[in-house]
């Protein structure tokens, strides 16, 4: 079946070519005219004001920075007041990067500092320190930057 269809297709193309033979001279004449136009327009292209200009993307957004990079803060394990802001008041767990909105490096630093503070008894592990419960909130865990996994 395939071979038959291929044969038909081949024949059809041959027939078309035969049919278009009479049109060929006119086509060639058209092509020549197009070429002439192209050669005449190329010298004008450099000076034409309507041509598109190469420029930087005007709609590009300003590069974002995370809150710790913006204020140039390196988290330290003795700075408990700062670290407890990244801790859930209900469970004491550290909020993830999709909630805190920190860059990868700073999130890693914060997590390391919190675990150090908890090991050296500066910070509770199962809840937030009661003194820091009403501290200003850096982010809303209900509205994460990126969606939750679940």
């Amino acid at each position: 079946m395939l071979k038959i269809t291929q044969l038909i297709a081949r024949n059809a193309t041959v027939a078309n070519l035969a049919g278009s033979r009479s049109l060929q001279p006119r086509l060639y004449s058209n092509a020549v005219a197009v070429n002439e136009e192209a050669t005449t327009t190329t010298p004008n292209a450099a000076t034409n004001a309507d041509e598109p200009i190469e420029m930087a993307n005007p709609f590009e957004k300003e590069p974002q920075q995370c809150i710790l990079c913006k204020h140039n803060i390196t988290p330290n394990f003795k700075n408990v007041k700062l670290l407890s802001q990244f801790q859930s008041p209900y469970t004491g767990r550290i909020y993830g990067r999709h909630i805190t909105g920190l860059c990868k490096q700073k999130q890693q630093d914060v997590e390391q500092a919190i675990s150090r503070a908890q090991h050296s008894l500066l910070m509770p592990g199962y809840h937030k320190d009661v003194d820091f419960l009403h501290d200003p909130k850096l982010f809303d865990p209900e509205k994460p930057v990126r969606p939750h996994k679940y």
Partner: protein, 147 residues
């Protein structure tokens, strides 16, 4: 010699005894060939939770940190020595590191997945694992390989 920070939690003690505990720890650092750079008193305060150490339950502690330099091989010995001291509730030794200069990568992380570098690397790995597959509509009316 690298710099280290020893964060100590001492049990509630009267002042002269507290001084003797700190002198003891400092001398043990000196005996291991170390240098003390700085002493920090972080004060006495209630512990975040009760801690059972050396058979006693502690609810209050005095926080102290000592910055010192020693050979890295002596750190484990120091930790072991402080662990035997019954006046010390917790002792942790952390390396003091200079924070290296780096640029915030948040902007690159917030791009759509197809534009992120790490995602592009994952896609490349997946492409490398891709094996060429036999195309069934290539004109052959039988499968040329062993099934």
């Amino acid at each position: 010699m690298p710099s280290y920070e020893l964060s100590l939690v001492l049990r509630q003690l009267p002042r002269p005894e507290l001084i003797s505990v700190i002198k003891r720890t400092a001398e043990s650092i000196f005996n291991k060939g170390g240098i003390i750079r700085k002493l920090e008193n972080l004060g006495a305060r209630p512990l975040p939770h009760k801690v059972s150490e050396h058979g006693v339950v502690h609810k209050e502690g005095t926080y102290f940190s000592i910055f010192f330099d020693t050979a890295p091989t002596k750190i484990l010995d120091l930790k072991e020595e402080f662990g035997r001291d019954i006046d010390i509730i917790r002792r942790n030794i952390y390396k003091v590191e200079e924070s290296a200069e780096f640029k915030c990568t948040l902007h690159d992380e917030m791009l759509p997945p197809a534009y992120r570098k790490d995602v592009q690397e994952i896609i490349d790995i997946a492409k490398r694992k891709h094996k060429p597959k036999y195309n069934y509509n290539s004109g052959l009316d039988y499968y040329p390989f062993q099934k």
